[in-house]
């Protein structure tokens, strides 16, 4: 089989890239990561939004949030820190100003939500579910805002209560739980999400981090700490996806430092049913589409007709055995 990476559109016709998250069918496994793709509109100039597996929008709260003072972002080795502080337009304006635009495209819309109380999460999910969005992603892990999700994401009891309650109020949309990577055992938390009725888990959110400007002696972010994203965290994300894959049956949305198709395929092999592209959008606004095409090329090159064949296709046992002797 040729090693050249080339695309044959007619071959793609025969190729099945679709994956399912709960009852939601995606035309391909590549979606956007919340907070890195605005409300979709910002990137519509660079790519055809119809090509995406799904669009996950910036985290929405009941009331608009102002966000943190600047500087909000800084660069780190192979990554970046952000402390946006969950700035967002709030539920009302999202439904009025942002959702109608996204509805013009033949692409599922998943809304990332956050609140400080279970009640808040429930109200948000209810309203969004009734507004007809395709999916709701519970951000229980955003490390940026002190009163933010972190507690939900690291306390098992609260998390299970939260998901159970939200589940009851969500009728149509699929329910995703975006877990905090800031835990000792991700398998326990994935299991809680599954047992509490979540249709899928999203892994991973940013890892809390910090950087210091040694000339000014100040933190590089006004919020002092922020969330680390980008290639730097990829190995941690792949590991957590693989651990979760071995713990739960529900689909896993893998993310964390995916910059190209090779990275995305790593996640699929480790057990992710779909992947989300975050920081890569900042490096190239065309990243999502480039990655979709790269996955097609890989499947082509390997003579694989259905992307689902590689999900969880890690050759771990064999590798273990072969290398042991």
């Amino acid at each position: 089989m040729s090693e050249r990476v080339t695309s044959y559109p007619h071959v793609f016709m025969l190729m099945d890239l679709t994956v399912s998250i709960g009852q939601l069918k995606l035309k391909n496994p590549v979606m956007t990561a919340s907070g890195t793709f605005g409300y979709g509109e910002e990137y519509s100039e660079f790519i055809d939004l119809n090509r995406l597996g799904a669009i996950v929008v910036k985290g929405i709260s009941l009331k608009p949030m102002e966000g943190n003072p600047p500087p909000r972002v800084c660069e780190t080795p192979c990554g970046m820190l952000n402390s946006i502080g969950l700035q967002n337009v709030g539920l009302k304006r999202f439904l009025k100003e942002k959702l109608p635009y996204l509805r013009k495209f033949d692409t599922p819309v998943i809304v990332n939500i956050l609140a400080n109380t279970i009640h808040g999460y429930v109200r948000l999910s209810k309203a969004l579910d009734e507004s007809g969005v395709d999916g709701i992603e519970l951000n229980v892990s955003c490390p940026n805002v002190k009163k933010g999700g972190i507690s939900f994401g690291t306390d098992k009891k609260t998390l299970s209560k939260l998901i159970t309650k939200v589940r009851q109020s969500v009728k149509r949309a699929v329910l995703l739980t975006k877990l905090s990577p800031n835990v000792s055992n991700i398998q326990e938390f994935s299991k809680i999400a599954e047992d509490s009725g979540s249709d899928a888990v999203s892994l991973i959110n940013t890892i809390p981090g910090m950087a210091v400007d040694i000339e000014t002696r100040r933190p590089r972010l006004a919020n002092i700490t922020g969330g680390l994203s980008g290639p730097a965290i990829k190995p941690v994300a792949v590991r957590m996806v693989w651990e979760s894959y071995n713990a739960v049956k529900i689909p896993i949305i893998g993310m964390g430092g995916i910059m190209n198709a090779e990275d995305a395929i790593e996640f699929l092999l480790a057990g992710a049913t779909a992947v989300a592209i975050g920081t890569a959008n900042f490096v190239s606004p065309k990243a999502t589409v480039t990655i979709i095409e790269g996955i097609e090329d890989y499947l082509n090159r390997k003579g694989i007709k259905d992307v689902r064949e590689i999900i969880g296709g890690l050759n771990a046992a064999q590798s273990y055995h072969n290398l042991n002797n």
């Binding site: 890195t36 793709f37 100039e45 660079f46 608009p64 966000g67 970046m80 946006i84 009302k92 900042f282």
Partner: protein, 280 residues
């Protein structure tokens, strides 16, 4: 015409130990830039450094687009190493440039240090209609002087160490000028780019004397297109107060706790802001 494109380095002329003039040839059809707009340039094709760097549109030449840059850290150091023939990814033109007021006002253009990069196209646009105030650390820090003299007869120069032009800052120059032309004050408009402290001082003067004007702000950036909300800057927004009743599309503006103050995104709603808007 996409604003994300590949470009070829035509040449990269060192101007002094810290500054250079980069010329890139656009390999695709792209929209024309306006004074005050900027581009995000990829400084490496490895993941370190990861993010593109923002640089103001400096000048358009037959060969392509030029950027005037100063070495600050790792990324710009790599930029200094760019050789002709290298292909890089570029995003732009981005943001809102300087509004060229069509009225009778006389523009006062104020550039501190590398701020000249963003002011330069304004000088060409206004030609001799404008007064130009340009300052730098020292003589070596004054860039593109011949071109500047070529495009303006009203060029006022200063350096911190007095090694060329008047000794002092552009703020001193501006104050002197205004005191000698106090009668015409309402007939002026200000355009400034430079260090935060300078912009703040210029803004104070403008507000005191009631001179209309604009400054180009800087913030760390990631996406450059208003998607990451990373480049926030705090501004007053009367506009918002009015609209906040019946909600209209306010881009990424948000009602805030201390109402009337909002964060705007430098990359999309800026980098140029009306002086009266910015909260220092």
């Amino acid at each position: 015409m996409s604003r994300y494109f590949t470009a070829e380095i035509i040449n990269n002329l060192p101007l002094n130990s810290k500054n250079g003039l980069l010329t890139i040839k656009l390999l695709e059809q792209v929209p024309n830039p306006e004074p005050g707009q900027f581009y995000m340039l990829a400084v490496s094709n490895s993941h370190d450094p990861l993010l593109k760097r923002p640089f103001s549109f400096f000048r358009k030449t037959p060969e392509g687009i030029q950027f005037l840059y100063e070495v600050k850290g790792r990324g710009t150091l790599m930029m200094k190493g760019f050789r002709g023939g290298k292909i890089i990814n570029v995003l732009g033109p981005l943001g809102k440039g300087y509004p060229l007021l069509e009225d009778k006002r006389t523009p006062l253009l104020i550039a501190g240090g590398i701020g000249i990069a963003s002011i330069f196209p304004l000088i060409e646009a206004f030609s001799n209609k404008a007064y130009v105030f340009y300052g730098a650390r020292d003589k070596a820090g004054l860039l593109m002087l011949d071109e500047l003299k070529g495009s303006s007869d009203n060029l006022h120069i200063c350096t911190d160490d007095g090694s060329m032009g008047k000794q002092g800052t552009v703020v001193d120059l501006l104050n002197d000028f205004l005191t000698h032309h106090s009668s015409l004050i309402t007939r002026y408009s200000l355009y400034a780019c430079g260090r935060k402290s300078m912009l703040e001082a210029v803004s104070r003067i403008a507000l005191e004397k009631g001179i209309k004007g604009y400054v180009s702000a800087e913030e760390n950036m990631a996406c450059g297109v208003g998607a990451c909300l990373g480049c926030a800057i705090k501004v007053k927004s009367k506009k918002l107060k009015v609209k906040s009743q019946k909600v209209k599309n306010l881009n990424s503006e948000l009602r805030t706790h201390n109402s009337g103050l909002v964060y705007k995104m430098v990359c999309k709603e800026g980098p140029v802001f009306p002086i009266e808007e910015i909260v220092w």
